[in-house]
């Protein structure tokens, strides 16, 4: 799928989202003008390093941003509902039904004083208004669907009695018990061992097929993205720097950050003597550079990078926030164009996300 979908065919549409945190030391623009969409049944991978704003984007969709953070601009639409315009009560309803979220550490989202089965049953009975006993049976059914052996017994166990992998399965069962249209998975396998991660990823794939739900998969692990995602959004310092379908991002990355990221990871079976590195560190969110946020670490940095780069369409459906032309050349206006020329050129090159 090389064609980027039109905005109308999307289940979730995020447009110009800005979520800022007002700290004593200044404003942290954790999410600063993020736009992307997820179609029905699609898995979108959101990849980036810590502090890039990927989790804050997810929490913004759930409207779970807490002080000192605030959504200051943008829109988030689920099908034809404007999530940012809903009352708290309506939003709770959306969270319980249309969107579910699973987290990296399931222990934090499971209540330690109730048995796992009861927690799922409660979600089901709230969702469908059915009796608790019936909901309990459904909960056991859900647990066995996510591959928990001896589900009847496990349903009576408390979260701390389960292993990390089992807890993540319980979390998934709970998230899916309300049959959501969109599942947001924030680093769902990061805390797990690799053989358990493989189990959970297989499980998520199978459930995705069966429930035909959309998944927003947030991770820093490019391997997990390659394994699971249809489309990919790469974030850096609160902005989307590149987005396309998964094959394009991995095979023809355009943005120097994406390229650097792909080059710097050690891969199985490719024993190189030295790893490529991305120089330096992620910029301090309180002291962001002017213009392109990646320029200080970028091997292709040019004087023009002091002006915020355009979000260009490299190919249909492939966007990159960089001054380099689709062919990877310096821009037509020249590598050291005047700021005014550059601002105008950026506006002309930028496409609507």
């Amino acid at each position: 799928m090389t064609q980027r979908p039109t905005r109308t065919g999307e289940l979730l549409s995020i447009d110009g989202l800005k979520t800022h945190f007002y700290t004593q030391d200044g404003v942290v623009k954790a999410v600063d003008g993020v736009s992307f969409g997820i179609r029905n049944g699609e898995t979108l991978g959101v990849v980036g390093e810590s502090g890039c704003g990927k989790s804050i984007t997810a929490l913004s969709v759930m409207r779970l941003i807490e002080r000192p953070g605030r959504i200051v601009a943008g829109s988030i639409r689920l099908a034809d509902r404007d999530l940012l315009a809903l009352s708290d009560e309506e939003m709770r309803d959306v969270r319980g039904n249309a969107i579910s979220m699973i987290f990296q550490e399931p222990m934090t989202s499971l209540n330690p004083v109730y048995p796992c089965g009861d927690q799922i049953a409660e979600a089901i009975s709230l969702h469908e208004g059915i009796h608790r006993r019936e909901a309990g049976d459904r909960a056991i059914e859900m647990l066995s669907q996510v591959g928990i052996p001896d589900a009847k017994r496990r349903a009576r166990e408390y979260p701390h009695q389960l292993s990390g992998g089992m807890r993540q399965r319980v979390m998934i069962a709970m998230a899916l018990s309300t049959n959501p249209e969109l599942l947001i998975a924030d680093e769902p396998t990061t805390a797990l061992d690799v053989t358990i991660q493989a189990q959970i990823l297989e499980l998520m794939k199978a459930l995705r097929e069966r429930n035909r739900m959309a998944i927003m998969l947030i991770t820093h692990d490019l391997g997990v993205i390659a394994e699971m995602a249809d489309d990919v959004v790469v974030m850096y310092s609160g902005k989307v720097v590149e987005s396309s379908d998964v094959n394009t991002v991995f095979e023809q990355p355009h943005h120097p950050y994406t390229k650097g990221l792909l080059a710097s990871i050690p891969r199985l079976g490719e024993k190189r003597h030295r790893l490529e590195v991305i120089q330096g560190v992620v910029p301090n969110p309180l002291n962001l550079p002017k213009g392109c946020l990646f320029k200080r670490r970028c091997p292709s940095a040019m004087p023009v990078c002091d002006t915020p780069p355009p979000l260009q369409e490299i190919q249909p459906g492939h966007l990159s926030r960089c001054w380099l032309t689709p062919a990877g050349e310096p821009p037509e206006i020249g590598a050291d164009a005047e700021a005014e020329t550059a601002v105008a050129a950026a506006a002309a090159l930028t496409v609507e996300a």
């Binding site: 066995s144 990221l261 050690p266």
Partner: protein, 377 residues
């Protein structure tokens, strides 16, 4: 040399070169205490259960395994940060400790343990880099105090000389020398890990235990630190024991790799050998489980059943038998559940602890790989 334990011969010995570290029959059991006063022993977590290997000078031995396999405990026992239950560790021909097993003790063998003064000297050769760069630096000490602590403890009391040394070390690990008076919280994760490396190098050691040194770092920072470790090894002739769970990282940095499962070494071989021709069913599954950052390669995997058993109550016989795909395929031979497999060489320099290692072939692996379907355990 006594080789009483069948699972603990010093197999897969280095082919050539001087041996820097030798670990023999190392056992660490954490006693689980209980009872009214919390004094009586009610069980034991068998974190490390008879591990033997040696590391030759200048090489990197990678140790991989999942949580509970005992790799971190193994590192700490070698460093004598926690006392061993039994076993022997030799660094540069100096025996750090040689503790007999219960039976040997009854037969009259005594423990030898390096005394505090000698151990302090030995520590100059034996350093460590920790996983979490946030927890491993004392937040109340400046970078200069942290990196200079080793030299101070070992008698470099001259403040000026110590500061010169620290500045040199900071430059060596790629940090700005003028940061010497700053505090850890002012640095990013990658920079902190460089501070931790500088601290380890301050005593000019030969041997460094790297305990998951990059797993807490961001992807783009990991490669910086891995390259730094590579460079330092070449410049200073260091020897590494590199403990990690990321198989790609271990493949990149190691010369030889050992795979651990529930306190035992299950396979040990040259890096190219083990990654290309894994001989233990667990190694096969571990390698197969790593997601490949190549979307065209959504391959079929060998997916293991169930969870890693508790090291407090490990399975009988081969500890991997509860999750083994090969055992299932071979019709559940009785041997797997009753006999602890010998850690044997199947080729020179390639040792494996599996009764049926010869059955691990591309055919059997291919047949075990599958896709899709909720994986019921």
């Amino acid at each position: 040399m006594e080789t009483t334990n069948p699972g603990a011969q010093p197999a897969a010995a280095p082919a050539a070169g001087e041996t820097l570290l030798r670990v023999e029959n190392l056992v660490k059991h954490f006693e689980i205490r209980g009872g009214l006063l919390g004094i009586s022993t009610i069980g034991a977590v068998r974190a490390v259960d008879g591990v033997s290997f040696s590391v030759r000078k200048g090489e990197t031995l990678g140790l991989v395994g999942e949580s509970g396999c005992g790799k971190t405990t193994l590192g700490k026992v070698i460093l004598r940060l926690i006392p061993a239950t039994s076993g022997k560790v030799t660094v540069k021909n100096r025996v750090l400790f040689d503790i007999p097993t219960e039976e040997e003790r009854k037969a009259g063998r005594r423990a030898t343990v390096l005394d505090a003064g000698e151990m302090k000297k030995a520590r100059r050769d034996l350093q460590v880099v920790f996983q979490d760069p946030y927890a491993s630096l004392n937040p109340r000490m400046s970078v200069g105090e942290i990196v200079g602590e080793g030299p101070l403890v070992h008698g470099l009391t001259d403040k000026g000389k110590r500061e010169d040394l620290v500045r040199e070390l900071l430059a060596r690990v790629g940090l700005n020398q003028s940061h010497i008076h700053r505090y850890p919280h002012e640095f990013s994760g990658g920079q902190r890990q460089r501070i931790g490396i500088a601290r380890a190098l301050a005593l000019n050691p030969d041997f460094v235990v790297c305990d998951e040194p990059v797993s807490a770092l961001d992807v783009s920072i990991q490669s910086q630190v891995l390259n730094l470790l590579d460079d330092l090894q070449q410049e200073l002739g260091l020897t590494y024991l590199f403990i990690a769970h990321n198989l790609a990282v271990v493949e990149h940095i190691s010369d030889r790799v050992g795979v651990m499962y529930l306190g035992m070494m299950v396979e040990l071989a040259e890096v190219d050998d083990i990654y290309v021709r894994p001989a233990h069913p667990y190694t096969v599954a571990l390698l197969s489980a790593v997601p490949d950052p190549n979307p065209r390669n959504r391959r079929r995997r060998v997916i293991l059943k169930g969870d890693i058993p508790s090291p407090a109550n490990p399975p009988s016989g081969c500890r991997f038998h509860t999750r083994c795909w090969l055992r299932e395929r071979l019709g559940n031979p009785e041997q797997c559940t009753t006999v602890v497999p010998e850690f044997r060489e199947i080729q020179p320099g390639h040792a494996v602890a599996c009764h049926f290692a010869e059955e691990v072939t591309p055919d059997t692996i291919g047949a075990a790989a599958r896709t899709g379907g909720p994986v019921a355990s």
